[in-house]
Amino acid sequence: MNAVHSEAVYSDAPVVSARGLRKLYKGKPALDDTRFDIGPGRIVGLIGPNGAGKTTALKAVLGLIPFEGELKVLGRDPRTERDDLMKDVCFIADVAVLPRWIRVREAIEFVAGVHPRFDRAKCERFLLNTKLTPQMRVREMSKGMIVQLHLALVMAIDARLLILDEPTLGLDILYRKEFYKRLLEDYFDEHKTIVITTHQVEEIENILTDVMFIRDGKVVLEAQMDTLGERYVDVLVDAGRLEEARALKPVDEHALPFGKTRMLFEGVPASQLAGLGETRIPDLADLFVAVMKGTYA
């Protein structure tokens, strides 16, 4: 046992491929014919309003719930091959799920004892820069320290897919920045895929390679971050050209002080927009608000 051996993995196949997912919660669809693909080496932001089905989609991918439809995660069906799948998939559900009684030393020993891809030395190295000590129990830690421990455990696992569901909920800005910094510097590489859901869109915007908007159980926008600028343009329209701009059918519009109006255009060539006013690539948050218009109405 415990012999270290290498395993060849071909990393160009899709990591997640979902077709026609369906799941009802109390008669209301949480997944409604959901379809999406996630490629290897991507950092995907799964973004949607409350109750849009983000967590349900992630739970389906993790094999935690029954659902209908076709879903392959690393070539396996999470419903029937979950035990095997979990060797290659890891997740942080949210900050408070480490058992309160466990000590740092015990958590490390346990994961080392059950996970074939856990690197104990790596985990201990991650913990060196924290205030955590081996004897410390989770119940004695602050929320931020619990996340440090959880992240150290998870980052020491050489998984191919890491799923983070609101991983930084309730953390202060220092811990949140640190969290994503560690993830990018010490964990992510081209053979790994990370899927993140969060409400703090601004904080992850810069690290994402792909974005998926989900609404009422459907994926309403699926795009690579670097192509967003080709598809969407934000224009600060001068007061005199409002009618001209409106004729190009903006997807969203709101007035700003000093007579300017911001409009978001989809699929309108940049040359047509340039004359209307100052243009720029929209923030994910603006885009989100525009796409999700009327969700809570």
């Binding site: 071909y10 196949a13 070539g75 346990f110």
Partner: protein
């Protein structure tokens, strides 16, 4: 392996993997349970034993005073006649003390295991740590079986081991007290007692205990896996109130119609087998105590023989209980696998 990886232009990536055998993984799961429940499995019986020792010490001091007082008033019989072939009363007392030590630890264990099982699949859902456990490559079956192993095998073994320790301490208290007071024939405690016989008798009924307790264990685990809140109320009040309600309405209906309802069997199956199976020796209610053959307390250590317990395996009752218990455990595993924690 998977066909989709077989396209030639794909590049392989080397990843470090250790192989972990199922046995090693299971040992780690058992260790995990121990970390979490050390207080119940170790400290609860140890502390109870310490309290028992304290009482024994107080008794020893009081007893010594009484003996010295009796000696002073020459009211104390120096000779103790032990008929040939009979056990010396002090040796018998020594055996009883050892048995008492084990008994104390086992009683504590019964309570600990009862609440351990009620929390076994509920606590992790309440604090949502189940999502952490489920993020690791461990099958639900393995996890549930590790908890089962603690409840019906390891906890009893721990209790017996700690009970032996308690028994030895009590034994020591008794030995020192009798020697200091010059009780004649005190050495019989060591020469005539049969500690290994007692210990072996207790250990040898563990398989009977395990099998007999399965319906209770299964029921408690099922409630623990199923209840959204208050697993204790579901597990305990539901069967008791259910039986009471059926008995009451059955009694009224029976009085009117003249039909006899099998109340006794109902209570036996639901409450006795379904809730009280963790209490050791309850199987004697089915097989009878004839096999123990006691003529009086003096025979207790002399003939202390629990091997008759194995007759429980010859009853249909036992096998029905095992079947139901296993079915409920399988159901609990399924619940843990598919239950959506919201």
């Amino acid at each position: 392996m998977n066909a989709i990886y077989d396209t030639p232009e794909q590049t392989p990536v080397q990843r470090a993997t250790r192989s972990i055998g199922a046995a090693d993984r299971f040992k780690m799961l058992l260790k995990r349970e121990f970390w979490e429940n050390r207080g119940g499995f170790v400290w609860a019986p140890v502390i109870t034993g310490a309290i028992a020792t304290l009482f024994a010490l107080i008794g020893a001091i009081g007893g010594s005073w009484a003996v010295q007082h009796a000696k002073a008033t020459s009211n104390f019989s120096q000779d103790l006649q032990v008929p040939a072939g009979e056990l010396h009363p002090l040796a018998m007392a020594a055996d009883l003390v050892l048995l008492g030590g084990m008994w104390i630890a086992i009683i504590v264990m019964v309570f600990v295991v009862f609440f351990y099982l009620l929390g076994s699949l509920y606590d992790e859902r309440r604090d949502r740590s189940v999502l952490f456990w489920k993020s690791l490559p461990v099958a639900d079956t393995e996890t549930v079986l590790s908890k089962l192993a603690w409840a019906v095998v390891l906890a009893p073994l721990f209790a017996i081991a700690i009970g032996i320790g308690i028994g030895l301490v009590l034994w020591l208290v008794m030995a020192v007290t009798t020697f200091l007071n010059g009780v004649p024939g005190a050495s019989a405690m060591f020469t005539d007692s049969r500690p290994f016989h007692m210990i072996w008798q207790v250990i040898s009924v563990i398989p009977v205990y395990t099998a007999w307790s399965l319906p209770t264990v299964g029921w408690l685990m099922l409630c623990s896996a199923w209840a959204k809140r208050f697993p204790f109320l579901w597990a305990v009040l539901l069967p008791i109130l259910g039986c009471a309600l059926i008995s009451l309405s059955g009694g009224i209906f029976g009085a009117i119609s003249g039909l006899e309802f099998p109340f006794e069997q109902l209570w036996y199956v639901v409450v006795f087998r379904g809730l009280m199976g963790l209490i050791p020796g309850t199987w004697y209610a089915r097989i009878g105590t004839d096999s123990i053959q006691l003529d009086g307390p003096q025979d207790m250590p002399n003939h202390f023989d629990l091997s008759g317990s194995w007759a429980a395996f010859a009853t249909l009752d036992m096998w029905l209980g095992i079947t139901l218990g296993v079915a409920m455990i399988v159901l609990a595993i399924r619940l843990r696998r598919w239950r959506d924690e919201g």
